[in-house]
Symmetry: C2
């Protein structure tokens, strides 16, 4: 047995650099919150503003109504021909005309995580055409996926979208499509946070 001090060991997230992201809701932030809906399971508080910070976030005391964290990582399901198309077509975040945003945190079921890689790929793409469908909306809908299944967070993924007012209907079509797929049968919790650049 060891004699332990009372210091729990924190992870050094500074080493993740700009791979790390913190979304938080409260009084501050560059995004005005339009609405917060629960799609499946518990919702999140409806805050006035939302902040999205990459790198090590020093949170405002006024922005702790909810806090979600994630990290960019390697692709899990896209194959070479798909990744090449994604890279060729996708737009970056921060476009001036992309005044609307959506943060959709998702938690998948234990059943999903117990599947093997090729079983998950089969559901994700062969049956649900997740990437194939998403590609149709590029570059209009800019998208960034953050992973948090291995970070002890309440969700497994934070999906972040930015788009112009004129593409708002297209975004609804994409979201509606995905929610009807077989993949979505494995979604245990989903919240839909819509924001507008403040």
């Amino acid at each position: 047995m060891n004699a332990f001090s009372n210091q729990p060991s924190p992870l050094d997230i500074t080493a993740l650099g700009n791979r790390f992201v913190t979304f938080s809701g409260g009084q501050n932030g560059e995004w005005e919150v339009i609405r917060v809906d629960s799609v499946t399971g518990d919702s999140l508080p409806l805050s006035q503003r939302m902040s999205r910070i990459t790198g090590v976030a020093e949170l405002s005391k006024d922005n702790n109504e909810w806090i979600l964290r994630g990290v960019t990582s390697n692709v899990r399901y896209a194959e070479r021909h798909e990744k090449n198309q994604l890279v060729a077509k996708q737009a970056g975040l921060g476009r001036k005309e992309a005044t609307l945003g959506a943060l959709i945190p998702i938690k998948k079921s234990a059943e999903w995580w117990n599947l093997t890689q090729e079983e998950r790929r089969q559901i994700f793409e062969a049956k649900s055409h997740h990437t194939e469908e998403g590609l149709k909306y590029l570059p209009a809908i800019a998208r960034q996926l953050y992973h948090c299944h291995d970070l002890g967070e309440p969700f497994d993924f934070l999906t972040w979208f930015e788009y112009a007012e004129e593409h708002a209907d297209e975004f609804e079509k994409l979201v509606d499509y995905l929610r009807k797929t077989e993949e979505w049968a494995y979604v245990d919790r989903e919240v839909d946070i819509r924001v507008r650049r403040a």
Copy 2:
């Protein structure tokens, strides 16, 4: 712009429960360190003892010569027939007769992480037979993989092995085999820490 306090936001690793592991080297710990070798890149300090704690670790002040953290996660490459064989054949950690241990932290190259899933699987199994070869050594060599690529840690994986004295030669064969595979061409840093139950 937000007015931030000086509080960086720590991840709540308590939510990971026993998925979280902390290995640390120093004066304490249930494992006596036999040797520490650099296989590729920088080594780690040769400490007297090593501790392996699952769950939230409250580290001894005497055990901070080096600290490595990781998390158990879903399988990345094993397909159904392989996962079933692994589950059927593998032994758990903590067997009384398994008095020898090896902690082999590995960091893979940016080139590896830029590959797509099927390209990594192709190298991992079709070319390197990683799982197929490892299966031959079950249940003699108990193995647990911890992920840390997305945690901001200095390594991407912590591979932990426990085995009995009588299987020490077999373990060397397994390690020698893996280091000659095509997969290992993508290993940027590897340290080999050998321990004995104290």
